[in-house]
Subunit: 362 residues, 2 copies
């Protein structure tokens, strides 16, 4: 999807891919094969690039530092990126900056977890400090005993107080090296089994003051951490409207896919503009309501066979496929619907996403 934006901007992309059949490698001419944990591959890849950026958080922090030390313009830089890689470092930094977060502590043993649970109440959310994604690396525990296996695995862990949230929100902001910042409207994200299934833009019924406060927090985090490029701030909204920060991502993010059709500037264009230090684009929405629904792989891998119903049924829905092999539960694409009536737009997006995944008519 970044390539779609790069084509319009006249930006030549080069991609580092582990294999030639990875999604991005299929649609970009300048593909370098190599692994993102191989520093030599990263150095060879970066040679000649005006800027280097990421579509995931898994490049080791030390490798990002080594590239920067060699003169590569890596955006975001290691000092910012580490906060999207290491949840404990992120919590320490956000806490010091006064950004609202759940109570948390590093835990290394059942005794640590028990102590945390007794202080903050059960359930406790146990998280891998590094490497979690789409619900992986997160365990909701009712007792320390329940977490025995994870605690004994040698993975670095932290505990967080379970937040009795009303709903989940996300704020996507962009920040450029010269310091310009913009915020997209606050969206509501709907998760199922730890995976985002739907994003509603803007978040329905959100009080304008609460929305402004959430955008302020996201821009403050971007500034405090020195982010260049996109920053997605996932938040919990508590009863009464207050928010606490859940997770950070520093790249185009699932919660911003609606911007491709739903905003003047897509998050992918915005990320390129930000990391190239160009003026940022307008984040204004183009319709009163946009709903994005993820297409999750189902039992039948032949999604293309179900194209025709979706396209004929709703000529206005936009379908995006990622060129990924279909595996049950995997995000293989998304659909976006725009309109004015929230219930109708949600139903359209859901119908298309479910049908593409399963062939069902919902």
């Amino acid at each position: 999807m970044t390539q779609q934006a790069a084509i319009a901007l006249g930006v030549d992309l080069r991609v580092l891919a582990a294999a030639p059949d990875e999604s991005a490698a299929r649609v970009i001419r300048d593909v370098r094969i190599g692994h993102h944990t191989d520093l030599d591959a990263l150095r060879a890849f970066a040679a000649g690039c005006d800027a280097v950026t990421f579509d995931h958080e898994h490049v080791p922090t030390g490798h990002v530092e080594a590239l920067a030390a060699a003169g590569v313009a890596v955006r975001p830089g290691a000092a910012a990126l580490v906060h999207a890689q290491d949840k404990a470092v992120m919590r320490e930094r956000l806490g010091a900056a006064g950004v609202p977060c759940p109570a948390w502590a590093r835990v290394a043993s059942a005794a640590d977890l028990k102590e945390f649970g007794e202080e903050h109440g059960w359930p406790v959310v146990l998280k891998a400090v590094r490497g979690g994604y789409d619900g992986r690396g997160v365990w909701v525990c009712d007792s320390a005993e329940q977490a025995a296996e994870v605690l004994g695995s040698g993975v670095e862990l932290m505990a967080e107080a379970f937040v009795p949230f009303e709903r989940e929100l996300a704020v996507l902001v962009a920040r450029s090296p010269h310091g310009q910042g913009v915020s997209y409207p606050v969206v509501e994200t709907v998760q199922r089994d730890g995976i985002c299934v739907e994003v509603i833009a803007p978040a329905p019924g959100l009080d304008p003051e609460h929305a402004a406060r959430a955008q302020h927090i996201a821009l403050k985090v971007a500034t405090e951490l020195g982010v260049t490029g996109l920053l997605a701030v996932e938040m919990f909204q508590l009863p009464g409207g207050r928010v606490v920060v859940n997770e950070l991502a520093m790249r185009p993010h699932n919660s911003g896919h609606w911007t491709i059709e739903g905003a003047r500037t897509s998050q992918f264009e915005q990320h390129l503009r930000a990391v190239l230090d160009l003026p940022l684009g307008s984040p204004s929405p183009v319709a009163p309501v946009a709903v994005m629904a993820n297409v999750l792989g189902g039992a039948d891998p032949d999604v293309f066979a179900r194209y025709e119903h979706v396209m004929a049924h709703d000529p206005g829905v936009k379908v995006h496929f990622y060129g990924k092999e279909v595996r049950p539960g995997r995000k293989i694409g998304h659909v976006t619907a725009l309109g004015t009536d929230l219930a109708e737009v949600r139903a359209r997006a859901r119908h298309a996403a479910v049908h593409l995944a399963t062939g069902e008519y919902v």
Copy 2:
């Protein structure tokens, strides 16, 4: 721009390019180098493609027929495409179908031209029957003597009555092999020196009945000629509102670039859906006014140096570069602005296009 649409649809594109630095070849992985007049190159290119289509009209009709005879799904097919390649064949067919066109005749000599001028009045528009583009191959003559050089060049020619038009309109329609047809709103195109500089969607102040009539004509032409894919019908609007057909193109067309941001379905996505026989997408506009302005190459080739002003000045304007070498007068990109106030939206698009081309502030 077709690649941008192909990425979302999950369609793998292969491109035949004369050189690896051509625009499309720079953004597509599967590039075959060869010339579009080389039948062997065309055959090798087409092997394994589900469908073959065009981004210009210059593949010889006989080659298109040969591919089809070998079982390749070429869309549009030769029998339709010839009407966008040969203006005399087009005029004969449209005349027979009762589609309004200017008076015309084949001319081979000064005497023929003089006779035509005496019957229909001067000036006369002399056209090359094949191969014209962006004002090339068109000569407005006040006398037969004035055209002596062209008449003596051996180029196959036709004469058309000069149409005293009020403005130029264009209608973009799509038609699929299974017979579905859709029309985008009628647009106004503004030409300078035979080159389109601006497209306004929808055509300002166009009477709804005249608009419906123009759309009806375009869909009728698509059906009569058996077009599959896009058909752009360029028209002259006469005083009183009546239209006559000027030119045809059977591919994504400059008059439809506004659809990338300005319509639910871009013309590039629509063309892919049509040639793959998928249901067509909604042609509905997403804003009351969209204006596209072409960026024509100026004296200074470094357009990127002028990015920053344009992006900072107007965060809502969308810039598209084609990855083409800058030559004076060449279409190297375009900009699109959306909004509600016609004069304001035109001014925004013009400002961006002129500044990118020349560095001037207009």
